[in-house]
Amino acid sequence: MDMKVDKKLGLKERYALMTRDLAWETTYQPMDKVFPQVTYEGIKIHDWNAWEDPFRLTMDAYWKYQAEKERKLYAILDAFNQNNGHLSVTDARYINVLKLFLGSTPPLELMAARGFTNVGRHMVGAGPRVACLMQAVDEYRHFQTQVHSISNYNKYYNGMNEFAHQQSRMWYLSDGKSFFDDAITAGPFEFMVAIGFAFEYVLTNILFVPFISGAAYNGDMAAMTVGFSAQSDEARHMTLGLECIKFMLEQDPDNLPIVQRWIDKWTWRGTRKLASVGMMMDYMLPKRIMSFKEAWEMYFEQNGAALFNDLARYGVKVPKCFVQTVAEKEHVTHQSWIGFYMKPDSTPFHTWIPEKDELDWLSEKYPNTFDKYYRPVLEHFDAQEKSGNRFNNKTAPMNCQVCISTIKFNDPDDPMKTLIRSKTYKGEKFHFCSLHCEEIFDAEPEKYIQAYISSHQVLQGNCAPEGVDTTAPDFEPGAHIAAYWRLDKAATGDFNGSEDQANFAAWRRQATSN
């Protein structure tokens, strides 16, 4: 690779010339008409030039390094696929991580690309505009490369081919979708706090460990290389998020309360979204790297505390939800997995009861909660399954109006009690998974009453495939939902006895014998 860099100009000068100097003050139209979105959120900016990307990355260098990343990535993907790499993963249960990942993540990368394209258009300074442009291209690249790498698995395993159709329809994908829908419909500064700061800086570390390191540990070179390639962009994304926070706080003291409200809101929304990532770590990786609890302590409690202590000089306080997230870290992943296990007709990926040694690992990693609350439930389900009486929850879930996660998390003060809060707004009743979500609702009720909740849409007759008469007296809303989702029956339910399990075993036998 050509790594020659023009040494005549220093990094700082080059950045100044090729970023700041390319911007201009408009003359045909006043600046506030060209950039109409930067004031309505109440954020006051006095000097846009105070924003500088500390990486000092210019577009020419950006293309050079990104091209290098892509060349490496596709060389590895080709090699992996040519070698029947899918048969080298630890065991076929692992592939269900990819199915969950495919439904939940690439579509959100695409939303991030759209969001940063928009914010890059609306930020006034050249520094943030260029950094947003790079991030938009990065996020588009993440979307494409993730889909490309998983497309090889799609040739062999069930449940992946309808991810794009399912993304905006499936009940369990609504939480991630609503996270980005909420962010992208906010103003440019709130979007930056939501995605750039809360998601990229505070929370994405929790994703790196389970996804990249976990994929590597489980023999999945395709997902590992895609993960690495994407994550090499993340350090830049985190930096952009942190710069934006510092910039707002340094520009005007009046910005602090607005920024604090966004930090509180988005840290909580991100935390809720990460419960399913934690579940992948604790339940879906056959070879485990670390527990969700350990990752949470390392990356959120310690690293997050370092960040918030540092920002205290601007008057920023630790997000209000911090205490609750610490109390919940020993519960959420178990509640999520049990929740998915209980609905074997409703996901395009398989579930299973962990093996005995896996249950023991969970007991060891979660000494305060697993044996007391969750192991007995899993063992009970296991016994029922083995006696031919597999538990099947056929009801539609109840969802939080704000974060759209299913209402299943416990009261922080009482693990035996589900937390649910309700209130009436303009004659309609709304439910929340937590006090934090209720407060987010209270701040902007007109926004959140519009939330898309799959269960409600089903009952309103909006989720029937074309040709079904939803006004017929014998119309049964639940009867058509699988067809509406284009859910492949072979992809649902138990891993044990599935086509994936049988095929993987047969192909692996073929690959290792004559």
């Binding site: 990355l57 260098a61 790196f208 390191s213 994550q231 370092a306």
Partner: protein, 90 residues
């Protein structure tokens, strides 16, 4: 207590040299190896010096090449031609 600044790289031959350079320039650096990645923590401030990396890697090195191997960082970043640093002020 000073918080740790940290950086993580994917594990490969280039990052091996980069990590060696970090360890040499940052007394107190803690290296943690995880599957396919390596994370280095340093209390307060972590610095990567171009000269030290060049010495370890045996060729000229542009600090922006770090982009290719980076996984994550923690701390306020500053990058010049000669130094890449991450620090917490408190």
């Amino acid at each position: 207590m000073t918080a740790n600044a940290f950086i993580a790289f994917q594990k490969n031959e280039e990052s091996r040299a980069i990590v060696e350079a970090i360890v040499e320039d940052n007394p107190g650096a803690i290296v943690v190896e995880q599957p396919a990645m390596v994370k280095v923590d340093v209390p307060g401030r972590l610095v990567i010096r171009r000269a030290t990396v060049e010495d370890k890697i045996g060729r000229s090195f542009d600090l922006q090449e770090l982009q290719i191997h980076l996984i994550t960082i923690s701390g306020h970043l500053d990058e010049t031609d000669d130094e890449f640093s991450l620090s917490w002020l408190s």
